[in-house]
Amino acid sequence: MDRFNKVADYAIIKPLFFDGMTLLFGGFGGVGTPPTLVDCLIESGVKDVHLIGNDAGFPWIGIGKFVCLKRAVSLIASHIGSNPIAGELMHDGALKVEFSPQGILNERVRSGGVGLNGFLTEIGKGTLLAENKPLVTIQGKEYLYESPLTGDLGIVYAKKADTFGNLVFDKTARNNNPLIAMAAKTTIAEVEEIVDMGELDPEEIIVPGAYINYVVPTRGINWKWIWEMQGK
């Protein structure tokens, strides 16, 4: 593989999806979840997928489309309220959901991505979410231990990439994408625009290309606001 030209087509990236993999996905309520890569995940036919991401998207947007197909076996997320089907699957036992406070979840992904081994926090102490979490006492005070998260494959969305995989984001579509981009063994970035090396301002690059393995052009966002879908 040419490390200075990571641009790939969907035929190249399809074999990266596999049964039983742990998939990290970027996005917040579907905003910033790479739509074409989710379609590719769906078309790949893989099953028993372990998902890690902020939320379950909407049934028609983001990772939600995949969750609804019942091919994910687990999800670590901060909420699933925007995808009622995810809630049904959870109640039926078809989808194992682990809730993590939103910022803590992001830090867990970051901890894995930057090669650390988890962290201590008081967030969640004395709540349901503290169950099964190790308590660590430092100087007489108890903290929850939060474990790092990593995965086999990471999929992120960015506005622009150069061929090395340097990424620039788009407003609130940035959200957790820079963290997800660091945490997987292999990371694919779906982008609106691909430019040559040297065409991005080195100051504006948010994710250095060293973290990115493949860059694919988006086939389009096709965004639907929630009020456009209600009653459908």
Partner: protein, 214 residues
């Protein structure tokens, strides 16, 4: 009932002061900007990675510019975009001056329950635990009682907690309460209610502010 929500939001809008960095939760808190005095200039924070958002554009909302509830917004001058860890770093480290969250129950020591009703829908906790832990000041908004009349300001919460001892003020359509290390104090009556009304609809004991009489 819709009216109660608007009354609460209107009263809560008075809590905002120029210069503050403010996070508004979903539900009743999201109505607050409608009642904000135009001379009050605050920076609204959104968990997804935006400090300084403004009203939704009238036409052509941008899918890549939304608040944490997923609704389109704009960005004000001096606003910035950042990733989720920076966003929550701001929350946990006390850079949010004021968080106003919707609530299911608040207990007299300030314990907040607002994320789960066991056996019913479990949407997940989102960013509520961190806001409750990290915001410099936390205000809980809720209707005073459940639809069946059951009080929501309680001695001990019957719901799983979001965070302990975090709420400093409660605003309902009937009253405003303050909470400190001594417990719950009735601070204000909303128009049309008496202290006796509040006693009848509040499970927890409370003291009376100096300004109020039985």
């Amino acid at each position: 009932m819709g009216d109660a929500r608007q009354i609460i939001a209107n009263r809560a809008a008075q809590e905002l002061e120029t210069g503050m960095t403010v996070n508004l939760g979903i539900g009743i808190p999201s109505l607050i900007p409608n009642y904000l005095d135009p001379s009050t200039r605050v920076f609204f924070h959104s968990e997804n990675g935006l400090l300084g958002f403004g009203p939704a554009p009238k036409v052509n909302p941008d899918w890549a510019l939304s608040n944490a509830a997923g609704y389109p917004v704009s960005i004000v001058k001096g606003g910035s975009y950042f990733d989720s860890t920076t966003s929550f770093g701001m929350i946990r480290s006390g850079r949010i001056d004021l968080a106003i969250l919707g609530s299911l129950q608040v207990s007299c020591n300030g314990d907040l329950a607002n994320w789960i009703v066991p056996g019913k829908r479990v949407p997940g906790v989102g960013g509520a635990m961190e806001l409750a832990y990290g915001a410099k000041r936390l205000i809980a908004l809720m209707q005073h009682c459940e639809k069946n009349g059951q009080p929501k300001i309680v001695t001990t919460s019957t719901l799983p907690l979001t965070a302990t001892r975090c709420v400093r003020r409660i605003i309902t359509e009937m009253a405003v309460f303050d909470i400190d290390e001594n417990g719950l104090t009735l601070a204000e009556l909303m128009p049309g209610f008496t202290v006796a009304d509040i006693r009848n609809h509040t499970e927890a004991d409370f003291a009376l502010s100096d300004k109020l009489n039985e």
